[in-house]
Amino acid sequence: MAGAPNVRLRLSNRAENVLLVRQALSGLAEAVGLDPIALNDVSTAVTEACNNVVLHAYEGGEGPFEVELAAHENGLDATVRDHGSGIRPGVQTVEEVSGGIGLPVIQALSDSVEFRDVPGGGTEVAMHFDAAPAEPPEESGAEEGAELEAIDHGTPGDVTLMTVGPTSVARGVVPRVLSTLAARAYFSTDRISDTQLLADALVAHADGSTSAGHLGVGVSVAPRHLEIRIGPLQTGRAGALFGAAAMDGLGPVLERLADGHEVSAAGSAEVLDLKLAQRG
């Protein structure tokens, strides 16, 4: 697989985040035209790998994990990586742990799977699926890089970091991920819809403004509040993104959908922070 994965997520190993991964995967599948049976295979296997991280990687505690999804003409790759104790296939063969069915399910549904140790501790489950998408995304040429750090709020709590690209993929993935988080923040259906509209506008207008090729989205969730960080954007583009999303006669659409925004510098780039709240 060349270039950056289409979707990269960094999440806490909370159980509800498995749903977020599934939604990101559905968004990707929709964007690249993956057939529903193949999606069901991929989704079931990825869910098992994520559940394993949720239940066992941090021995009952909380810790981060990463998911990478890449669709290309030869199929789909999905990697789930934790930094905890994880599953250690070096120590235990599938047979030894087959009291659980997670690993046999992953092995049965993927076309190949590798279990690797992560330097510094942890396990990576790298799955490949042969089912090729009908419309594989263009290779974006985005570099594996610092996007995740650039959009990190630096605040503890329920934070999800994601990079996604190219735009055709972001269009499918970002609204799904943001609306899932809006649902988690107890937004009402009309505010969830606003969040989706905001995601559409961000994806449409961030094209060409990102400094790293892929769009970075960091979201922190609290009851009735979402804080969304978009970046890294080329200097001067965060404000311009707001202007670009203005519609003749309607004014700044993003400003109406959000409850506050702020542009700040992040190294040689800038980030756009948006706040959304459940009103009423």
Partner: protein, 268 residues
Amino acid sequence: MPTTAVTPSIGSRAGHAPNAQAEVAQLFERWQRREDESAREELVRRFMPLARSLARRYGRSSEPFEDLLQVASLGLLKAIDRYDAERGHPFQSYAVPTILGEMRRYFRDSGWAIHVPRGAQERALKVRDAQERLSNETGRAPTANQLAQYLEIDVEDVIDALQAIRAYETVSLDAPRGGGDDDVVPYGDTIGRDDERYELVELDATVSSALGHLPPRDRLVLQLRFVEDLTQTEIAERVGISQMQVSRLLRRSLDQLRALTDAPAQAR
């Protein structure tokens, strides 16, 4: 050792403990060597939770679930009959791929991929109707959790439904609305009538270049949301359509406006 478990609890019920494993081995011996039907029945009973668990995992959004469970059970029977204990692998490592294989084949052969969108569409209609009912009862739009509780489905299904509803092509405008027979009015009809109820504010002439391409109702909804800053629920009340409909109209209109304003921008 904390790293041993992979997924919860099937093993504990289905023969992971050493003595349970010995019992399973004995049961296979009785069935495969001596054709003892009662041993086979006992194996089915013991491993049915495995089949059920796999059906639930693989067919999360399948309806009806019982059909898929039957397919998984068939896979379990095949696995019990074909398992070769001599090879030394535990039964589960043979049963899991066999049962999954049976379900995958069923999905391919039954046209499941075609039924999925239909099932999703039906669920989307249920969510839409529940959304309207709850909004009417309480005067405010429900949360996804409230919808999930009300309909006794997963939040994930509600989120999928909201996604489907927003993709306006998916839920047909002519789909009957919920409620009594007497209020089965296709959406298309209500929209036409609602237009007449409202005096449309004509927008600035210079502005109407892009907006002018949109139907009056769509312009009104855009204006109420983005100029007057009403909530979608308030707009729904004022215009006499559902909030979901407002959501869909907004999305479509903004997409159209973007396409219209992008075209000249790209030509530059």
